[in-house]
Amino acid sequence: MSVNYKGLQALVIDDFDSFRMTVVKMLEEFGCKHVDSMMTGAQAIKACRAKSYDLVLCDYNLGPGQNGQQILEELRVKGLLKPAAQFFIVSAESSKSIVLAAYDNEPSAYLTKPITAKSLKQRLDRQLRQREEMLPLYQAIEAGDVNAAITEGTSMVRRGVRSAPACQKLLGNLLLESNQLEDAEAIFKQVLEVRPLEWAQVGMARVKKARGDLATADVWLQKIIADSPFCMQAYDELIDSYQRQGKTQEEQEVLEAAVGISPMSILRQTSLAKAASSNNDMAVAAKSYSRSVRLGQHSVHDELENHLQLGRTTAALFSEDEQLASDISREALRALETAAKRFELTAAQKHQTTLLESQMHAYRGDKRRASDMLMELQNTLKEDEGELCLEVQLDLVATLQALDLKDKAEQQLGALIEEYKDDQQALEKIDALMDEPLSELNRRRVSKINGEGIAHYQAKRYQDAVLCFKRAKQLFPRNLGVHLNLVQTLVSEMTEFGRTEASLELCGDSMKRFEAIMNVNHKQFKRFRQLQEMVRKLDRELKD
């Protein structure tokens, strides 16, 4: 079967004149009558908006703007490629991270340079023959008629057409998406009877997930990842499953593994940043937000929230790891400055970037600049009278804290708590700035994990108890009770099994944190002093 190039609408994207012209010429020699060519991502996306292409050949490295993978990503997100369209990435790059990131957006093929006319024709022929055969299936999908597509695909697989393997894959997806789980399962089982192919294994796990059996799906997905550590889809499914179960710690771990293997995926970087930030792991959160802002420079997935969160997590990091925070803060400042150029900011968003910039300057030691920015903002706020939304107010409190204006911060916070006392969702957000959680959700979280820890402690399972309290400390770093529970467990463990330097250091950190605010009137004063005495004694004995 020869391939008909004549009727195809083709597009070639390459910034190098000679390459572009050669590829155009090749396509014309194959019989193409309609070949457009573009030099940059912006031009290419405009062209795809104006016209629906059947065949796109896109160079990976296009100079300063978007690369080939980012163009494909944007076209997919904006729905500018028909289901039948064939998109080829042509690249001299064969490094793992680039190839894996490109595969996330499912190009028809990733061709490595140099390409010759003969080899290009061979690859295109093969892909276009498959496209021609599958055209009825694609057209049904494009028309939104999923059932017709399923009927067509099922019949093609049954007839054993040449593109049957590709049809099976597509059919499995369609059945899953339209929730026809038994048929989907049948397809995947049929494939797996012959070979343990990754996509069918992932398909089986997706069926399990759709049926609500997340526990089994998790086990299967973990096994796929152990056997094929480059199967990114398995990571994504597992991450999604953990997220739905609220297993944020596990979610973060899988995301870290996935990002380690494929570091150039902006969506996973952003998800990791979010998960780490809800786990209060500010070092990972700030680092991941800074990577996702960097990857976002030419990506359709760049979002204002990533820029703002980079500022917030970096500010929070200053109290944990000043050196690291200071390194990242430079990038955070840049990200906040570029936010205004990249996005159309509302008044509230402008206030937020200013507040966060002010925080960065304050923590970097430039208090004057920080307070000038704050004052200027407060003057503008006075003039336009409008109500400030919760998010801006929270950033304002954090800025007051950054500038050591403790009384003002307390006052502002008190007003916020009063204003939102009946709004649980708002209280959850406010909790980030509080010593004791206010929202029911976070209260439950802290009391649950504290309760588990105390149960372990009473049964003298000190190591398990330490793990619980450490996790509680991570989530609620300002909570005195959690810190004292941790110290008490460590002290008991050391008294029974011997002292270690690491445990003593942990105790010391927790005690130091609250020393300044402790006084005789505090309701935990007595307990605090007792523990402090015990830690000091252990410390002296170790040093002797």
């Binding site: 793992k96 006319a117 003969k118 080899s119 061979q122 480059f230």
Partner: protein, 230 residues
């Protein structure tokens, strides 16, 4: 001060190989345009073009192979097993070497069922076949043959030629394994076979592990390379 370790040097090597490969890509591309746009004046000129083309693609193949081995050793090589039509993988390698075959005046036949599907990583296996093909083109007289079939529930791809065959020291390699040893007398043949062997071994099913085999004779009387993929 500690001296830079072996691993550091291999990283430097890998990144410079990567750069060389990119430059060479440009070179090969310009060469193809030049040859296409230049009318052939005489036989001597045509021969020069052929040599340029052949040597440049040989370097390119070699560099790609070096990089692949580096990635394999550093755990950075994703294996993508999927169902492919074997004939397409073979045709792709022939198309890649079209100019080489033409300028050397070689005929190449493919003997493979159009509808034979199998499960393997087409990039890696394609790379192996390409290597053997480019090497064979250098040692054969005028004919080469690519074939594929199923033997004992394994895919066997054979590359044979009508040249002088493999030296006796390399034969009987069912038991022997190919090391990365660099032998200046044998050129880089060993490296190519090491790559082939490693790619074969990455393909497994149940207890079966892929393998390569060398022999002389075959249908064309020269070297015969076989890769078994379970």
């Amino acid at each position: 001060m500690q001296k830079p370790g072996k691993a550091d040097f291999s990283l430097v090597l890998a990144s410079s190989v990567h750069d060389m490969k990119n430059s060479l890509g440009m070179l090969l591309h310009s060469l193809e345009i030049m040859i296409r746009d230049t009318a052939v004046q005489d036989e001597a000129q045509a021969k020069h073009f052929a040599t340029l083309q052949y040597e440049a693609s040989r370097i390119n193949t070699e560099l790609i192979q070096l990089l692949s081995i580096y990635k394999m050793d550093n755990d950075g090589m994703p294996l993508r097993i999927d169902e492919h039509y074997v004939v397409e993988t073979l045709e792709e390698q022939v198309a890649r070497n079209d100019m080489l075959l033409e300028t050397r005046g070689l005929t190449l036949e493919i003997d493979c069922d159009e509808d034979l599907p199998w499960y393997y990583d087409s990039e890696l296996v394609g790379g192996v076949v390409n290597n053997i093909l480019v090497n064979g083109a250098r040692y054969c007289k005028s004919r080469m043959r690519l074939s594929a079939s199923i033997e004992d529930d394994q895919l066997v791809i054979s590359v044979e030629d009508d040249g002088g065959g493999y030296p006796p020291s390399m034969l009987g390699s069912n038991e022997q394994s190919f090391k990365k040893s660099v032998s200046f007398t044998e050129g880089s043949t060993n490296l190519g076979l090491y790559f082939a062997q490693e790619v074969a071994r990455m393909h497994r099913r149940d207890d079966l592990v892929g393998a390569i085999e060398l022999a002389n004779g075959g249908e064309l009387g020269g070297g015969l390379f076989k890769i078994y993929l379970p």
